[in-house]
């Protein structure tokens, strides 16, 4: 059964009386890469977490084309600061497979394969918390991709990485996208947004100010805030 479109209607997240995100009206199709951009504190992370279902909504609706339970199994999330489970690299990557009931041997075989794909094949037995920032993010990506999700949410996955690590991560993402994984990702890096985006979601003050194809957005945003943001001005 198809997952998309994902339709949000008046979706809202409030905490202690303050609206963090919303109301959001959005329809996401099943193809390409959506990049969420906006200044610090705009609500990008909360928006992604709301769409993924980690953050509970306080109003509105969010509907996948398939039942929610089914949709939850077919998506994954990569956090800005990767959470390293207190296990080895291979056991970290195998963990999501073990959750589905896959046997230890099969899970570790598949995990080793994914570790090799992201360049961690030489350090399978290293403790995950001993890894560098770039290695951690690669591990987080492999752990997210190992179940071959149809949708992958990424919250600024390259925020603290150097150029080389960023390029490696982007290559992994490009490969995942080519393999049919739908990417929905936030970033601060406009260069990265231009490289990866098929469509852009511009968020400001918890609301979506623009949602347009990447070419259109980068050619000339339709809102003054979007133009100001693209020009590097401070927008609030």
């Amino acid at each position: 059964m198809q997952m998309f479109p994902l339709v949000a209607k008046g979706a809202q997240v409030r905490r202690r009386g303050k609206v963090l995100v919303g109301p959001v009206d959005l329809t996401l199709g099943g193809q390409g890469t959506s990049i969420v951009i906006g200044p610090n504190g705009a609500g990008k992370t909360t928006l992604l977490k709301m769409l993924h279902g980690i953050v509970r909504m306080n109003g509105g609706s969010l509907d996948w084309a398939c039942p929610l339970e089914e949709a939850q199994k077919r998506q994954a999330f990569v956090f800005q600061t990767p959470v390293m489970m207190r296990r080895t690299v291979i056991d970290n990557i195998a963990y999501p497979l073990r959750l589905t009931g896959m046997g230890r041997k099969d899970a570790r075989e598949r995990a080793a394969d994914w570790a090799s794909r992201v360049g961690l094949g030489e350090i399978l037995q290293r403790q995950a918390t001993m890894l560098s920032g770039g290695e951690r993010q690669k591990l987080a990506l492999a752990r997210a991709l190992v179940r071959e999700p149809e949708v992958l949410f990424l919250d600024e996955p390259c925020a603290a990485l150097d150029g080389r690590a960023t390029r490696e991560i982007e290559e992994i993402l490009a490969h995942a996208s080519d393999s049919g994984t739908r990417l929905i990702m936030s970033t601060h890096n406009m260069g990265q947004a231009r490289r990866l985006a098929d469509e852009v979601i511009f968020v400001l003050g918890g609301r979506i100010h623009e949602f347009s194809p990447a070419d259109e957005f980068f050619a000339g945003p339709g809102t003054s805030q979007g133009r100001a943001f693209l020009n590097g001005d401070i927008v609030e």
């Binding site: 999330f77 959470v83 489970m85 296990r87 963990y95 403790q127």
Partner: protein, 234 residues
Amino acid sequence: MTDLWAGLSQAFWLLVTLDADLVEITLRSLRVTLTALAIACAIALPLAAFLAVRRFRLRRATIAVLNALMGLPPVVVGLVVYVFLSRAGPFGVFGLLFTPTAMIIAQVIIVVPLVASVAHQSLRELWSDYHDLLISMNATQLQRIQALLWDGRRALLTAALAGFGRAIGEVGAIMVVGGNIDHATRVLTTAIALETGKGEFAMALGLGFVLIALAIAVNLCIHWLGRTESEGRW
């Protein structure tokens, strides 16, 4: 000071000659304590993980009660267990009073709140790290608890060792429910109490040093088995 040296000397000779009584009560001490600790951990560790991951109405109250019970007076526990196990009590029919089993029951009651509280502190921190990740992965409640217990196992070792320390040094409750019967329920702590009562300070001190040495040896052994000091491990 003389008593102290005499105690050390007595402890040395008890150990060197492998005194039969000493070996017997030391083994009984270990058996009672380790059995109680194993049962207490089987109850307390999953309870601690459950309290870390599950939100429910009386959660805070439960944690507060658990913390408060860490200071449970052992002699009161002993008294309550005595009442339950005595012939007139609800479990009198089992004939457990003045047996090592009664001592184990009392120790379990004393140790569970301590192990659960210490374990909960460390698992709560681990859960704050894992929360979003495990929810994102659709881990069930049971899988979350399993992940916390496995990944937090080295921190849980500390909780278990705290429980061991409390149990091995316990005297009030096991004196009440065990009765300090020679060749039946006498353990190191009750033997020390008895020797002190008789005025045999050297013997009491000797047994005390053996008790301390035993506690240190078990701690070292568990640390070594758990490889807690290995680089890059937890």
